[in-house]
Symmetry: C2
Subunit: 345 residues, 2 copies
């Protein structure tokens, strides 16, 4: 029997359940130690699972309903019971699974997860994270859209959660942290950012805080964890995706503009294949809503099988790590630190 169990919303995403099951196949081959709870419509799933090795390692749990990609979070929340998404998240709550993965409706997944798993003590606002490819490897950026804004205290908790998360998924022992701003000098930014920076510098918190970073520092990999409010983080993430797509289009045009360039592209085949791999969004798929009593990973709705497998990797890494304990320890240090004590009194 497998030791680590992941619960999967098999019906979420643009091409469910096909892409979900294909992704599970890829991941299962890499991780023979993991078992699965697959939530969705039994008949459809059994037909799709027929002939797959996966069948032996999974339990199929039936739910009549599916939350659609366009459903409002409030509506989804009301009818979450009886849906594949509600079932997958519920399995983490009961302890039947250690982490849940869904490619379904983001707002609905956040709402259902918050209600089912509740916020960790000391967390006022959970934060959505993104793994960001950089010139030095990968960085963690949060919040990328769980909230519209964040006050100084919330930014500090994002730093604590982001550092623990980076440790779990990148293996970096003491991740560096930067606060996103529009200049690196100490006098830049609004009062919220200045206050947050002051607190992050507090040695009692044990954060490896490097000060302010700017937008270009994210892709440069200047720090391991970039902290920002959900509005700014979401705009930055989507702007980067759009820019990468634009430049990839330029490259495609450049390498197909003439017969000579096409022959050149053929000769450069291996290098360009590696380039495609690096540019492939599926290699960094998976957002995690940090700050809950349990792990829920959100996959892109339009991802392919390889991307869904990446999201599963992330779920397994987090489920097998100490990150929740580290977040709890960090939040405890925050509560004991003088800056917060002052703010509270």
């Amino acid at each position: 029997m497998a030791r680590l169990i992941l619960s999967i919303d098999a019906m979420g995403g643009d091409n469910a359940p096909q892409v979900v099951l294909d992704g599970l196949d890829l991941f299962a081959a890499r991780r023979p130690d993991v078992g699965f709870q697959i939530h969705g419509q039994r008949d459809q799933l059994m037909a799709a699972l027929a002939g797959r090795d996966l069948l032996a390692r999974c339990e199929v749990i039936h739910h009549d309903d599916v939350i659609s990609m366009s459903e409002k979070p409030s509506a989804a929340l009301r009818r979450s019971k009886g849906t594949s998404m509600g079932g997958a998240v519920g399995a983490v709550k009961t302890g039947a699974a250690l982490a849940a993965v869904s490619a379904g409706n983001t707002g609905a997944l956040m709402a259902i997860s918050m209600l089912a798993l509740r916020k960790m003590e000391g967390v006022h606002r959970p934060a959505m994270t993104a793994i960001w490819p950089t010139a030095r490897g990968r960085s963690v950026v949060l919040d990328v859209g769980a909230n519209l804004d964040a006050d100084a205290d919330q930014l500090v908790t994002f730093a604590i959660m982001g550092a623990a998360y980076a440790r779990a998924v990148t293996g970096e022992a003491n991740p560096t942290i930067g606060l996103l701003n529009i200049g690196s000098e100490e006098d830049k930014g609004n009062d919220t950012l200045k206050l947050a920076a002051e607190r992050m510098r507090d040695p009692a918190l044990g954060l490896n805080f490097k000060g302010y970073v700017e937008g270009n520092d994210i892709s440069a990999g200047a720090v391991d964890v970039v902290v920002t409010d959900g509005f700014t983080g979401n705009v930055a993430l989507k702007t980067a995706e759009g820019t990468a797509r634009l430049v990839a289009g330029y490259v495609r045009t450049a390498l197909t503009s003439s017969w000579l360039s096409k022959i050149g592209a053929l000769l450069a085949g291996r290098g360009l294949k590696e380039l495609r791999g690096r540019m492939d969004p599926s290699s960094v798929n998976g957002g995690v809503l940090l700050g809950l009593n349990g792990v829920v990973v959100k996959s892109h709705g339009g991802t392919d099988a390889a991307g869904f497998a990446t999201a599963l990797d992330l779920a397994a890494q987090l489920a097998g790590s100490q990150y929740r304990q580290e977040v709890a320890d960090g939040l405890a240090r925050l509560v004991q630190s003088p800056a917060v004590a002052e703010a509270v009194t």
Copy 2:
């Protein structure tokens, strides 16, 4: 005698005055109708101008001092008289020149320009613009850093100024406008954005408003003008620059990873040369602080001669356009529109 005069801060930027004068040479060859006032240290400039055709088309105006790249705006403002930057901006105030261009200290240039030229009637906050390369051509994004935040009224004035600016520099007769948000649905975003969107939809303002856009829509060229607050716009701009740099690095690695790929890159030479041209930041150099009684263009401090020439192109285009009159007309419509009348009473 040339009809259109541009005033140039010859001492601003990382490699002044060399890069500035080289850029002037490039631009002068394209625009025989333009003359120049060159502000800076006379001896140094005369030596650098010796032997250049430029000499016949420019007036050199001596200033003892230079504002350094690291100087605080407040300090720069106090000693602006007697500096090359203060002189270049002052020439626009007196009418000796129609537009000023500087590659110097951004904060200092904004402060000096605001004091010397004053805000246009109806403008509470000037906005810094960027020209953004897109899949469809070029778009205008503002504010990219003149202010830390913006209320709904200010966002509406940014839309009016951005549309007039886009008309002047892209030739688009009726530029489309989008408001940057973290979702395109009407219920997304905070109250400031919702109020701004409601006002931009007012037919009396005559704006071609298309609703909310997201970060990825900027590079896609979904609209001609993207309106946002200075914090978000600055983060988006720098994030895009960082991402483009990262992807360009990937491409370089891909095309030099083996002998075959190097030969391939040689064969694809022309296409790749065009690619380099498209990726070249100098092709979109030049930010304008909109909303003042006069045109001041800020060039990147680290630009090359081609980039400085691009900033000069922008200055000449704006100086020769109707954009200030159009902004004045748009602001007049705003003052007469009911939404603002309500807010005022």
